[in-house]
Symmetry: C2
Subunit: 250 residues, 2 copies
DNA sequence: TTCACGCTTTGATGCAGATCAACCCTGATG
DNA sequence: CATCAGGGTTGATCTGCATCAAAGCGTGAA
């Protein structure tokens, strides 16, 4: 399923100049830094379900998601799996200063990533401090998201977990698309029931049951297996167990 | 276990001069930077149980733990609580670029922190890039720890959670004290049963029961309520559910 | 058209951990 | 020395989610 060669992606519309995060950074970029990054960047694409790297394998690049969704997961010896990262377009993977992956990185949907070989990337980082600063900000954001996620895993009920996940995806989806809010929200769930269960620390049967329950109560509507419509976002938010006064948007 | 297990890596000695993280940084410090940091640092101490800041409150400093243990927790409206950070000596709290705390910060034991007012600290950061780099490394470490924690919360059984927590504390404790391992490990649990339950996403009754179970099976010995002796660390490790081949050092 | 395969839904049952409720230490205090 | 309070333990019961099992889609291949 090689539809478009990654080389031909109209990536420039995002922001061809700034590879770290495709938005918001470029104001600080200077042209010689950009040249350096341009020279070392390359694209890779994956089909839904493919593994990008296995935990423990050598990973000699860092990357950011261009399109699609990637996940980070940990697996226990007996096969229990927990997702620990969900990467949407513009998110970053890889750790400067470490050369093996600590997690399984998987394409949840068809996926295009913009990669930089680690060594040259680190060289550029040394020369251009704002890249490090940006990376620090992003890492702090991820840490906050991870902590919110810990609350979900440790203390929320299955119903609250499902409502939370739907809200999280709706929000990120909406923010990516600058969607006009006001009425209903409509979007595709980009995850299988199984992937959702790995995100939430549940079984896929429980995920399915809770989605059915929310549908029966009218809190969400569904079209097909994947499309979700949220008639009243605030109503759904009340089911998440989160503070009603605006919590985090991740 | 004739020699020090790789799982019990010692921290390098503390370094009173370097406030960011007491180990490992100072090689890169230069005296004028240190002077700057010296000038803006101050100490605060707290008794066990005291709250350092509440979630949502103004927090105009960043800090690192000097002695004792601090925790970060999130609370839901109905009172359910989840710990999301456990700060041992040399760990860092606070987020440059944000002026309210996202979490309740609490002294789990008597606590001394070395604080820096946020604004001057940020100024120093701008001037001395290696502080930002160090902070990035530390944040990445914390993110890895958070992800390990997510696996624990989402997928481990109560028994595995307890075994994991005891191992985590034993390791960090051992590394702080350069403890000669080889035989048994002996240390104080610095957390109440309730704090442990908040860490693990359990109730305190379950924590108590599981500790009793491990004791009855001889995997741990206890003296009083708090002191723990681990006769065979590897045996306890097998109860954590983690991969046997060396996992993370946090 | 039929088949097969991957994903999803739904039902029946079991169990780990929550909940509710006593009771037990141990050290501080008058 | 008696009392008290703040942990900590242990027991009985309940329940939310896991587990086991089967059947229902929807899509693409034959």
């Amino acid at each position: 399923m090689t539809r478009t060669s990654p080389k031909l992606q109209p990536y420039s519309q995002e922001c061809s100049e700034c590879p770290i995060r495709h938005r918001a950074v470029c104001a600080r970029c200077e042209s010689d830094e950009l040249d350096l990054l341009e020279q070392i960047k390359y694209y890779r694409s994956f089909e839904a379900g493919q593994t990008v790297v296995w935990s423990g394998d050598r990973m000699d690049f860092v990357a950011s998601v261009v399109t699609g969704i990637a996940t980070l997961s940990q697996t226990m010896e007996d096969g229990r799996r927990q997702m620990v990262g969900l990467l949407l377009p513009s998110d970053f993977v890889g750790r400067p200063g470490r050369d093996t992956s600590a997690y399984d990185v998987t394409a949840a949907t068809d996926l295009v990533m913009c990669c930089f070989r680690k060594k040259p990337f680190e060289d550029v980082m040394l020369r251009t401090p704002h890249i490090g600063q940006r990376l620090l900000e992003m890492t702090l954001d991820e840490l906050d998201a991870a902590r919110e996620w810990m609350l979900l895993l440790g203390r929320k009920t299955a119903r609250e977990k499902i409502a939370s996940l739907i809200c999280i995806i709706a929000r990120r989806d909406a923010s990516l698309q600058l969607q006009a809010s006001g009425g209903e929200l409509r979007f595709d769930l980009p995850l299988t029931r199984e992937a959702m269960s790995e995100y939430l620390g549940l079984t896929l049967e429980t995920v399915s049951r809770q989605i059915s329950a929310l549908r029966k109560e009218g809190l969400i509507l569904t079209q097909g297996k994947r499309q979700i419509i949220i008639p009243d976002f605030d109503l759904l938010l009340e089911e998440t167990g989160d503070d009603s006064d605006g919590g985090f948007l991740v």
